[in-house]
């Protein structure tokens, strides 16, 4: 057992790194749906925007580019969320499919615009200085940047959890997930909440894109892959559940990483198998926050 | 004595701290015309949901013709012969009058598994027959969305009957009907064969006393009294409960108490 653990330590650490990224992504997707009933299929495209921003700004050996990319990505994400909020407003009373189609259209447009601007080649991004090396973890060399990613993911998870569970803003979020009418009855402007939630949700996507760029680079099609993983995480964890997003992300991170390392041909099957297994036991995910509005 | 067609024993349903239906025990013999009356919030509609299975009981058992159906899901209970009309019109708005009835009627015919249109003739004939019975034959091809309120209630009854029920639950079938429409409804229900047992929730006491062979009065989720229509009319307890809650609240349309006293 210990031998197996050692042999696969790199994969396991990779799994945590992927899990940390997925959590940042999925928590945005999950809260946006849980609170606002918006299924944002453009989430993956927003992620890719972040990755390409990293391609644009990160140059040479300096932290400046990386931090600039992060800042710009955050602003772009907030703006994108606000725009999305405005665009979905007229669709609020329509079937969920309408919003899905809208965000699908947006994701196609965004992805194509990116491929027009940046071309179809795979672009890579180097980690910021100091993080571009590797460290010795139990005898194997492991990229420092990925370790940092795990740390950032855990810190973010902690921050989000604290905000949602311990602050008044968080109480509002939880109340909205549980009972939207009640919140609007309390006299809180639903539209402002929506702009804020979609803005923050989208920002998490673009920031995750920047963070992921040194690992995954940026390429056309990455948006779909990432969206799929985030959706699987959200479905496994339960819509609107922070805890679910965290656990789902960690599970899927390991499944992706270990699955690809041990059984590369069957990785997709394993991913779907995990999803199926969870849904057989819990049709609405591990921590279903509420009954999905059907 | 034959087993009661519907037998509720100790049936309760709570929503958090609120107990909407509280320890209701009730036997409805086959062929009965049984009425449930009581003020709004007495738990009548909830009780219906517990019988049909669209809502689970918190405690107690529901038996149909001697078989415990408490654990059966709604579709299976329906296939055993429980059919209902709902208080809030629950039709397929996008479809025509005939298609609405056909959806219920075709379940009785094995031909529903066939893809050949001609094979559906029997179900169609039955649907048209029912539409004639409720007086909607001329509207067969009309979309439900275009029907008047009264017509929709009539259609509800036709749909419920198309299930060929053993137990027919009617939740305020006459609500919003004109006097002529509700007289027609009463005649239709009176003409139902003995094989159909009817339980009706109705505020219009004219309809109730024209139909019912027995009456249960529900109050705050509990059975206040079960008896013949005469017994219920004469009951001091009922009168008192009515007075206690204020007459206006007891019967929505306000005609109820007057009838109680007059008759």
């Amino acid at each position: 057992m210990l031998g197996w653990f050692d042999a696969n330590l790199v994969s396991i650490l990779n799994g945590f790194a992927i899990g940390a990224l997925l959590f940042v992504l999925a928590v945005g997707l999950s809260i946006v749906f849980g609170m606002m009933d918006v299924l944002n299929l453009a989430h993956g495209a927003f992620f890719l925007v972040g990755s390409y921003l990293a391609v644009s700004f990160v140059a040479g050996d300096s932290w400046g580019g990386f931090l600039t990319a992060l800042g710009v990505a955050a602003v772009v994400g907030l703006l994108a969320g606000a725009v999305l909020s405005g665009m979905t407003e007229p669709l609020a009373r329509r079937p969920i499919l309408d919003q899905a189609l809208l965000t699908l259209g947006i994701s196609l447009v965004v992805a194509e615009v990116l491929s027009i601007v940046y071309g179809n080649d795979v672009r890579s991004v180097s980690p910021p200085p100091g993080l571009d090396g590797s460290v010795d973890v139990a005898g194997s060399a492991y990229p420092t940047y990925r370790l940092m990613l795990i740390g950032v993911g855990l810190v973010l998870a902690l921050v989000v959890w604290l905000v949602v569970e311990r602050t008044s803003v968080g109480a509002l979020v939880r109340a909205s997930v549980a009972d939207r009418e009640m919140v609007s009855a309390m006299g809180i402007d639903n539209r402002k909440v929506k702009v804020a939630v979609l803005g923050i949700g989208s920002m998490l996507a673009t920031v995750a894109g920047v963070l992921a760029a040194p690992v995954y680079g940026a390429r056309p099609g990455l948006d779909e892959t990432i969206l799929l993983l985030a959706l699987v995480v959200v479905v496994i964890g339960g819509l609107g559940s922070i805890r679910g997003a965290l656990i789902g992300a960690l599970v899927i991170g390991q499944v992706e990483s270990l699955g690809r390392a041990l059984l590369p041909d069957l990785a997709s099957f394993i991913l779907f198998g995990t999803l199926a297994l969870v849904l057989i036991v819990r049709p609405r995910g591990l921590f279903a926050g509420k009954v999905a509005h059907s | 004595m034959t087993a009661p067609l519907l037998s509720l024993s100790g049936v309760s349903r709570s929503f958090g701290a609120l107990t909407a239906v509280d320890d209701v025990t009730l036997d409805v013999p086959p062929g009965a015309r049984h009425a449930l009356i009581g003020p709004n919030g007495a738990g009548k509609s909830t009780l219906f949901k517990l019988v049909t299975g669209s809502m689970r009981v918190s405690a107690g058992t529901v038996a149909l013709a001697g078989d415990d159906v408490t654990r059966l899901p709604e579709p299976q209970r329906a296939r055993r012969g429980i059919s209902q009309t709902l208080q809030h019109s629950s039709l397929f708005l996008g479809q025509t009058v005939e298609q609405n009835v056909l959806l219920a009627a075709q379940r009785q015919y094995r031909s529903r598994h066939s893809l050949v249109p001609r094979r559906q003739a029997a179900a169609r004939a039955r649907a048209r027959e029912l539409l004639t019975d409720v007086g909607l034959a001329a509207r067969a091809g009309t979309p439900v969305a275009a029907l008047s309120h009264g017509e929709r209630r009539q259609l509800e009854v036709a749909v419920a009957l198309a299930c060929e029920p053993r137990l027919l639950l009617l939740d305020e079938p006459a609500a919003g009907m004109s006097p002529a429409e509700s007289a027609r409804l009463v005649a239709l229900l009176q003409a139902l064969p003995e094989s159909v047992t009817v339980v009706i929730v109705e505020h219009d006491l004219d309809v109730v006393f024209a139909l019912a062979t027995s009456v249960t009065v529900l109050h705050l989720g509990r059975v206040l009294l079960t008896g013949s229509p005469d017994e219920v009319r004469a009951s001091a307890a009922v009168q008192e409960a009515y007075l206690g809650t204020g007459r206006g609240a007891l019967f929505l349309d306000g005609t109820g108490p007057a009838h109680l006293e007059v008759s």
Binding site: P95, I96 | E74
Partner: protein, 340 residues
């Protein structure tokens, strides 16, 4: 109910045709129009060059594909975002059968249909059982996974190079070498498939599907178990999508992973929505149009067809709100027209 009242059907008495079986009204006009369309379709290869004939063949295949999706989206109210999975599985199956076993046309397309139905049945029950927005997400996930499998199982599917070298369709052992013959084979299968779908839609089974779309709770109280019907619809739709995929493989003779992918699913959904969900023929028309536009303007867009697709999507959501009216069983209630 559904959408865009079909122009053929809705005009005569000014009333909206809201019946679920529009073909019953103005039957004669419908029949005449249908016969004219059939006659035109039948003689296409005699008057159109092989390239054009090929385009029309593809339009027919996608028409059948769109109708199969309409069975889910329009009739049952189950919006699938991964329907191309079954199309792709059918296409790969037909291609592999043709390469390794027999290129006999009927064998390949039937194998494709069975593969599509079996794959849909094997995975669909999860999506159907979960329902609601989970259905959207799960169909999307299933579609993506099939796409990834097509990419990664390169020893079987040819990976990202695609499955090529598919022999031409044979009928009774004779290969169909001319575009016209292939076209007639495609036309015959598509018509049979369309007829079968139409029969399903107008049967009592189809009625139950519409009932579930409009009011699932009421169907339960009428004694139907919605899950069984939705699941059956999902498998049937998968089978017909597989059939269309099988035709596609025989027609184009190369299958790419993208044929199972998200973009294909999205394209199809667009066709269904634009054409008018729930009418079967509307989506068929929509698909023919979408393919025509894609193949005509695709080259001039320099490979950025999805950009146009995305813009049309966004526009359609706002401009054609009625086009969505019958979807997902969540349609807004239309103002009832009182009988004059």
């Amino acid at each position: 109910m559904s959408v865009e009242s079909p122009p053929v059907v809705s005009t005569a008495d000014g009333a909206p045709d809201t019946t679920a079986t529009p073909w019953r009204r103005n039957r004669r006009l419908t029949v005449v129009l249908g016969l004219v369309l059939l006659a035109v379709l039948a003689v296409v290869p005699l008057f159109v060059d092989p390239f054009g004939t090929n385009t029309v063949s593809r339009m027919l295949v996608f028409a059948l594909f769109a109708m199969s999706l309409d069975l889910l989206v329009g009739l049952t109210g189950l919006p699938s975002l991964g329907h191309a999975a079954w199309f792709g599985i059918g296409a790969y199956t037909a291609g592999l059968v043709a390469i390794h076993w027999s290129a006999e046309g009927l064998v390949t397309v039937l194998a494709a249909a069975v593969a599509g139905a079996v794959a849909a049945a094997a995975t669909g029950w999860l999506a159907v059982r979960s329902g609601g927005v989970f259905f959207l997400m799960l169909t999307l996930a299933i579609g993506e996974l099939v796409h990834q499998l097509a990419q990664s199982l390169s020893s079987v599917t040819g990976g990202s190079n695609g499955l090529f070298g598919i022999p031409s369709i044979r009928i009774a052992g004779t290969p169909l070498t001319l575009a016209g013959y292939v076209y007639w084979f495609v036309l015959a299968v598509v018509l049979l498939g369309a007829l079968a779908l139409w029969l399903v839609a107008s049967s009592p089974f189809g009625g139950v599907l519409r009932g579930i779309r409009d009011n699932e709770a009421r169907m339960r109280s009428l004694g139907y178990s919605p899950f069984r019907y939705k699941y059956a619809a999902f498998a049937i739709a998968g089978g017909f999508a597989g059939l269309a995929g099988g035709l596609f493989a025989g027609l184009v003779r190369i299958v790419n992973p993208s044929d199972t992918g998200f973009t294909t699913s999205a394209l199809l959904l667009l066709a269904v929505v634009l054409g008018g969900a729930g009418t079967l023929w509307g989506p068929a028309l929509g698909a023919a149009l979408v393919v025509l536009v894609r193949d005509t303007f695709g080259p001039t867009l320099d490979g950025h067809g999805p950009l146009l697709l995305g813009l049309v999507f966004i526009a359609a959501v706002y401009v054609l709100p009625r086009g969505f009216a019958g979807l997902a069983g969540l349609r807004r209630r239309r103002t009832p027209r009182s009988p004059a």
